[in-house]
Symmetry: C2
Subunit: 253 residues, 2 copies
DNA sequence: ATGTGTGAAGTACTTCACAGCC
DNA sequence: GGCTGTGAAGTACTTCACACAT
């Protein structure tokens, strides 16, 4: 059990690479925008630009899902939206609980991108008795004591932890014991979970530290001998959004 | 300019792999905890467990920084804290501005992990005139009109965007024009930036969608022929925290 | 003509396994 | 004897480049 190592020898759920899965939501967002503008078809080049990746990667990604495009033409927007949604499991309804209703928890509760994507905030839970009953984003906050009952009554399998770091592991254990098998963790802690439970982590301070690292490099290169050549080769990261295609996004209030 | 593609031929800033950089903050956090408990040394095995990675990876990561361990003994906690902090550029002070002071922006402003890690919230900026002057986390909110002046007066190079999606690109453009070269984007949009500017993205809805994908697989495998073998091999992701070591974390209020 | 789908080549990251130092 | 540091092997992901369908 401990920190729950796991070697994941070839986890590839059914042949779709994890890196591809992480990009599908990006494509879906771009496609949804096109759909709203009633654009009927897109080329891999256009869609890739909108999603911030390169077109070869996008075509390869789609090839794992099937052959949904038409050579010489492109992809049918509506059809692709459906296929990706289905692949991601967004055609079904996912009740979600948010535990820890501070500023962050409230921000998450208010996040509009939820309902639109198959997610439904089933309940807000907080340890502070003073919060109980107070509505946040139109949903009354419930006390932690009710956690197990809420999970079971609503058939919740996805939990969001937005508590302080000190409470996170305990909340996590209770969520898992009650039947939650996927956790999105905003607390700056490494959570231990049994096999079969997925944890994803979102950590502001880590992101900032990564930015600081690159920022420092930029400053150094500027100062250090400007070998022109070196300066040119310097840092051209920029786009492709975040040093590695991965990573996710919250939503402002 | 467009979506600002970039092939980043061998960006590796100075030989440290991006994947390693992304883990340094994790190690740093674990080490800081050990330091607070006055633990003098750690083995790669122990530290790896605390950080949620495996020990071979950790040793390899550290080998990119130098030979800071002692064979047969382990790593000196204080010394490593210093070396990693320096490598990440945390020994200097990074003034940061947060734009968009809704629930999320407020949550970020209140995040304690800031000051402790070399980051300082230099200013909070919001487009709503009604917010101007109101203190959030003890810092008075300033109006967007002041953005350029704030950036320049404080020498800010890192900006956090927590505005609604619609405002993000415009805010981003202004930040970049004013001199910001690293952006942490919480708005669910792909930002276009010129070369030399780093963008990292944090997106709640993408994380949830990735969880939903795996959640769906779990359900499917349960139902589908339980080839015992298949069920056993099933999904053993779990720990290693989030399908790929990467990703970051916000902090609750 | 145009743009998809994909083997093949290239690159990045991880894990193994063990020599070498304490 | 214990634990680091690292070449070498293995795996995962990306990019190229072009055959092939429309």
């Amino acid at each position: 059990m401990a920190t729950g190592r796991t070697h994941r020898p070839a986890t590839r759920s059914r042949g779709i690479p994890e890196a591809t899965v992480a990009r599908l939501p990006l494509y879906l967002r771009a496609l949804t925008a096109l759909s709203e503008r009633s654009v009927p078809t897109v080329s891999s080049e256009e869609l890739a630009a909108a999603a911030g990746v390169n077109s070869a990667k996008l075509r390869k990604d789609f090839s794992y899902l099937g052959s949904y495009g038409t050579r010489g033409v492109g992809y049918d927007v509506e059809y692709l939206v459906y296929q990706i949604s289905r692949e991601l499991g967004l055609t079904q309804d996912w009740p979600v609980v948010i535990v820890g209703i501070g500023n962050l928890g409230a921000a998450l509760a208010n996040y509009g991108g939820f309902a639109s994507r198959g997610f439904r905030v089933a309940a807000l839970i907080d340890a502070d008795p003073a919060m109980a009953g107070k509505p946040v984003a139109g949903i009354p906050v419930q006390h932690t004591d009710e956690l197990e009952k809420i999970i079971q009554d609503n058939g919740v399998s996805i939990g969001v932890i937005a508590t302080p770091a000190g409470a996170a592991q305990q909340v996590c254990d209770r969520l898992v014991a009650a039947g939650v098998t996927s956790i999105l963790n905003f607390a700056p802690t490494v959570l231990s979970v049994p096999d079969g439970v997925d944890v994803r982590k979102v950590d502001l301070s880590i992101e900032l530290q990564i930015l600081a690292f690159h920022e420092q490099r930029k400053a150094g290169e500027e100062a250090g001998a400007g070998t022109a050549q070196q300066a040119a080769a310097a840092r051209s990261d920029a786009a492709d959004q975040g040093p590695d295609g991965d990573v996710p996004a919250v939503m402002p209030a």
